[in-house]
Amino acid sequence: MIWNQEFETLPREALEALQLKRLRATCERVYANVPHYRRAFDAAGFRPEQIRTLADIQRLPFTTKQDLRDNYPYGMFCTPMEQVVRIHASSGTTGKPTVVGYTQRDIETWSELMARCFCAAGVSRGDIVHNSYGYGLFTGGLGAHYGAERVGASVIPMSGGNTKKQIMVMKDFHSTVLTATPSYALHLAEVAEEEGVPMDDLSLRVGIFGAEPWSDEMRAQLESRLHLDAIDIYGLSEIIGPGVAVECLEAKSGMHLMEDHFIAEIIDPDTLEVLPPGEEGELVFTTITKEAFPIIRYRTRDITRLIAEPCRCGRTSWRMQKVSGRSDDMLIIRGVNVFPSQIEALLVECEGVEPHYELVVDRDGSMDTLEVRVEVNDRIFSDEIRHLQALGNRIRKDIKDLYGITARVSLVEPRTIARSQGKAVRVIDRRKEVK
């Protein structure tokens, strides 16, 4: 099922002409209204009027997370605040979040894109959508909510947490669609199994899972345990939130990009050279319809490849493969972006000293776990148990306040944590290991 027949099946030539027109307009707007972009364009020696072909996008400067951080909170906004009707945020690398804004028209666009996603997953007005994405500053909850309402489905705004209650609601309210992070969905399946709730008592037919990368093995697990079709959705708040790309039910192979709203490029993260479809590299996006928070060539740090081959669903848009990794050190734990450097800053603040530490990320059943192992040194060490425990508690609380995750904090003996070169934090991600 295709929500917007006209735009989702545009012939490539027409799509590219549309992209060029929208790109030029966006560049003119950001050049005129956003000091960061005016400086960046001037430094690149390139003016918006000089955009003649789509290939000229390669002459535009890249935008990074650091740029957003430097312009916290509203420095990258392109419209006056009076026109901004929504503000969202995601975690930044040093404790300050990345702030994004939406005009009324942006909300319309976002709802339209999410409607396309729901439709691609086979969801329509007869469906009951159980939305377990978090509602709040995170774009997931409200993004999915508005999209589901747009297709006319009945939305249950569950948000996260209280798993037993969620299962009761899913069962009693006859939810047919589940929107959640894949690890939370697996957790729901586990708890349902523990509670002895048979899957046949639930009415789930399809799930739309995102906010963290997940494998085809995970898809098989989700589909067999929840008795539904598992669809992958991609997005990031810097671009719009969820709704940047989605799998179609027909193929479930690669996510269709919303190319009439976002121009996607793949670059070599080291040389910054643009790579052709089929080659793996870092995903870069340029928004071409957003008003309050347009962004030019944003480096997502996600590693993937573009698929130009036509899809059997009939959409003409290119697809992106499931994200295979990151080109920075960010971790995604239970759908939350965690930057090791943030934890390091937290530890230094806690004790006034930079201890040797490492992060161990693992998976217990369906839930990601985080352990912070801190080496005790002379300055941290106290003769009294309660002081050491208080230190552990404080670190745990700070992590909880920052990410909403309860981490395990282990104090370990000196020299038990391997020394790394330079500033690289030692992160052991056991989730990738074969078990």
Partner: protein, 144 residues
């Protein structure tokens, strides 16, 4: 009257305790008193030895995290009610005990020795002495 006590941080792993005592044994350091406080994940081994500084050096060389704490050693009549009597004095002086451990020394006639960690050591010693509490001199303790 302040007695120096070593504290060693030990992870809850098999053999770690023996590693510590092994280091001390090889350095021919004699342990006078000890106590092990533990949680689920780690323990703190508290030791009073005959050569505090040397013990600290050899443990440090083996990468142990070692702390030094001032404690006091109190002589207590080795009869029922002996400890109770002393603790009542602590109470009346409003002195808070962080932890304590005891041992009996055959050379002490009818007295046992209890090591106390209290909050304000200097102040505590003078007030307790005024109430008749008997402290054991550090040198005596180390050399026992």
């Amino acid at each position: 009257m302040k007695v120096q006590q070593l504290s060693v941080f030990i992870e809850n792993q098999a053999g770690r305790l023996a590693d510590v005592t092994g280091v001390l044994a090889r350095a021919e350091i004699s342990i006078r008193a000890l106590s092990l406080a533990d949680t689920q994940d780690f323990g703190i081994l508290r030791l009073i030895v005959d050569d505090t500084q040397r013990a600290r050096v050899v443990l440090d060389e083996q990468d142990f995290t070692v702390g030094l704490t001032d404690v006091v050693a109190v002589e207590i009549p080795d009869v029922p009610g002996g400890l109770n009597g002393v603790l009542k004095i602590f109470d009346s002086c409003d002195i808070n005990v962080e932890y304590m451990y005891a041992f009996v020394d055959r050379n002490r006639e009818n007295n046992a020795i209890v090591i106390f960690r209290i909050e304000d050591v200097e102040d505590g010693i003078s007030r307790l002495q005024a109430e008749g509490v008997n402290f054991v001199e550090p040198a005596v303790l180390y050399g026992m």
